[in-house]
Amino acid sequence: MILLRLISWQYVRKHKLRWLLTLAGIIIGVAVFVGMHTANQSVLAAFQETINRIAGSTQLQVTAGEAGFPEEALEIAQNSPDVRVAVPVIEASVNSGLKGQGNLLLLGVDMTGDRSLRDYDLENQDDDAIEDPLVFLAQPDSLLITRSFATATGLKFGAKFPMETMAGKREFTVRGIMKSGGLASAFGGNLAVMDIYAAQKMLGRGRRFDRIDIAVKEGVRVEEAQPRLQAALGAGYLVESPGARGQQFESTAQIYSLVSSVTSMFALFVGMFLIYNTFEIAVTQRRNEIGILRALGATRKQIRVLFLGESVVAGLAGSVLGIFFGLLMARGIAAYVGAMLSEVYGVAQRADEVTADPWLLAAALIVGTVTSILAAIVPARDASRVDPVKALQKGRQQMIGEGENRTRRIGAVVALALAFGCMSLARIRPLFYLGYLLAVTAAVLLAPTACNIITRALRPLLKWIRPVEGALAADSLIQAPRRTSGTVTALMLSLALVISLGGIARSSYESIQKWLVVALNPDLFVTTSESLTSRSFVFPAEIGEGMRTIPEVETVQMVRTVRVNVRNKPVMLVSVDLESIATKVHLPPREGDEKTMYRDAAQGKGVVVSDNFALLHGYKMGDIVELPVPGGVLPMPVLGIVTDYSDQQGSILIDRSVYIEHWKDTTVNVFRLYLRNRADEPIVRKKIQEMYGGQTRLFVFTNQDLRAYILKLTDQWFSLTYVQIAVAVLVAILGIVNTLTVSISDRKRELGVLQAVGGLRNQIRGTIWIEAVAIGLTGLIMGLVVGAVQLYYTLEISRSDVVGLRLEYSYPFGIAAALVPVILGAALISAIGPAEAAVRGSLVEALEYE
């Protein structure tokens, strides 16, 4: 502790900027970790909160996937001897149409019985807050809104506001206002309650409910009632506690969670190299100090503990600052995540409040500190091994011993050999990941050698550009490998990440675009929502029949998409006339005969599944997919596996006739229209609007519109990737600035001598600039090479463990080319400050030692 105060603290005070830059690695890593996870948890917590608030005193909920179920199930539940109250519910997120209010969570309930479960907590404490319950029920435009929504929108009792419904644009009347808190706090207060039968009409749901909320009779245990109710309803229904719905949402959003974890972990990993670099430099610079301490009797252990102590303090300080910035970032990220989950997954959520989980913060503090300690282990060991006699001599302190280099090289070769071995056994996933780790380890171990080779190779080029400055810069790098290798390694890893992320984005774009051409080839798409992922509203099938009468229309395909649980994972069920699809769409088959698979599936003999469904959920040709249908389970063999990017969790194509038969649902999400002549698009669009525009909520997209929309969604998803790229580039730039700052202070005497013997200020500047560019170039070359390997592993992980997409390997040459000016430019800009510090430094001070 005394050593820390007397020695370390003095050193930190003297090199404030350097330490701040070092801490930046930990700060960014921890901030990204805390920010993304807090945002993620806040969205999940908000979703859970909404579920709990809406659930009221509900003990069990009956669901049957997203398609809902026929009303008859309600009577079965109500007649169960265990059930005290069973009330139907429809829940949908709809655009309020009110400026700045976004989506409104619409809760359709049966007002006669619902109060047994939910406390509406009306403003006047009695039913009169719904001015007249009979009018509320008699008039389908009646809405009960929350006080917070009323305040935000200025809506008062009796006020009217329009909303788009399946029966066209309708005015809704506020017939009750709920007090804030309780149910009224669900969905951030953007909640409206209406009669369930009116909601069915508004949303086009027919005679179907989304779920049944249940309270059991007094004296009946929920865990006993649950299996009995499940048995009474049949296997197609899911009877579970309200909390279980949150888990489904979590499962839907798990890919996002994974990506955010990877980003933050990577930032910390790179930050570790920055800390390692700084400590290595500190050990080198403080050799004299260490020598004196050793000469005065300090033991090796004391020196090691001193450096590790510094790393603990640095780790703690960086983590605390990281947590602070992370929490600041979390609110913005939460808004983004909420919007993204709503757009990409069709699951609306609002996280208005960001709450920090103490466990998460503790984990961040531990991860940040441990990262710092890990990074300092090798430098601390080096420091403890410093020979006091040699330490008090001058020169060659920046060289890495040949023995050390050889050990690293041998280690790298062994790691590489093992990595290749693991690659051949990639089916065993832990071995695959071990191989990945070994490959990264090999790259890290080889980095100093590669750095040295590249710098030596660059020397003639640098000398050719500027004979004096180029040679000086190259020699400085060659002679001080410790100073640069850590930074170059950090830069290499960051750029490798950028290449792999850019590569995966490019591969995804290419694959999605190919799929768009094949799968989404109709001329027009008619949907119920501007957001194609929202399935709150549905069309009656008659509209499709009506569109078939338009002379310019050749074919109308009716599509109903619903999320169903297969092996406890939510996957997308796409019901469509498969014979018609077979004639118009040729999804590339992975397995199975394209000619027979659709024909057999159209006859109800099985289903066609997407490649990612098969990969993620472990299905092969002929395997039986057990689909939960209202009233039972529908076993369907896999007749074919095709490339389809409809859903990240995988999709199952089923014939519409089979869907209608088992789900008793004739509604439609999307009509796909093929025209006799594509040029008739505007005419048909106009006719559809004339026929149905006034009667129902309807959006007509051209093929181009839809493709643009899907690419926008893809962009939205990849915006997370761009955040990762930004973090990687930022960390890389930090590394260069750090190294150069160190380099200047380290070479103060050398630069002083240079000036003293007549070196011009511009030559000094030029030397530092060239050195910076050389560091950037070395990191760039290594990063682009290691990126190629990293891309292979990322694609493999994405294929087998994340989204199941078989993306083709496509090196992102465009991104690689763009990185060259970015990194070299950043390196040059990073050099400006240190270069100016070098030329403006006191010559007397610099030559003091001499």
Binding site: D127, D128, L134, A138, Y197
Partner: protein
Amino acid sequence: MNRFVVALFGTVVLAQDARQIVEEVQKRSRSKSQKYEGTLEVIDQRNKVSTKRWEYARLGAFGESRSVLRFTSPPEVKGVALLVHNHPDRSSDQWMWRPAIERDQRIALQDRSTRFFGTDFSYEDLEERDVNQFDFKVLGEESIDGVACWKLESRPREKKVSQYLYSHVWVRKDHYVYAQIEAFNKTGLARKIKYSDVQNVQGLWTSKVVEVFDVAKKSRTVLKFEKLQYNLTIDADLFTLQALRRAS
């Protein structure tokens, strides 16, 4: 021993009397059909009054009747109807019809204790009180508004699903019509129903004003009967869901 036998015998006699009294009430009010127009006033605890009107028709008598109640004003609620099929051996079936959304909705047994469209009646209160669905006993004799009455206790039998544990029923000795009912649930007195303005209509003594107090909410609803008629010929088809839909 003798005292116990006397007490037991006395109880049986009283019980029989109670049942006979209620049977007499049913007998005297029995009609093969009924029709009226009703005015409903809901007066909340702040004395705010909302008024509605409905038409009521019933076919059949205790235990085997069907009835339909249809709101006629104000305009926002016009056409909303309640169809009730009473059964001798179990609770009634009830359906609500809402013309604006053209939907019928079954009122589940679990919901019978809830308020009928914001009035102080519950759905259960709109059912018939058939003598065979309750056990009765005489509690004594009391005057209500100066009229001598029997005070009875009625408890629903096992098959009858009811929100009430028991009720106290006052029956006028002069015309064998109900004068007052106090209905108790597990928390105590829930509702108090007062029958007044007793008139002879087509030979049947009938209370033309029924007032319900909701004890917890401190609000009351007054139902006034107009154009009351008995024993008309009414088409049985009117008491079906199809008829409800047709009427709208």
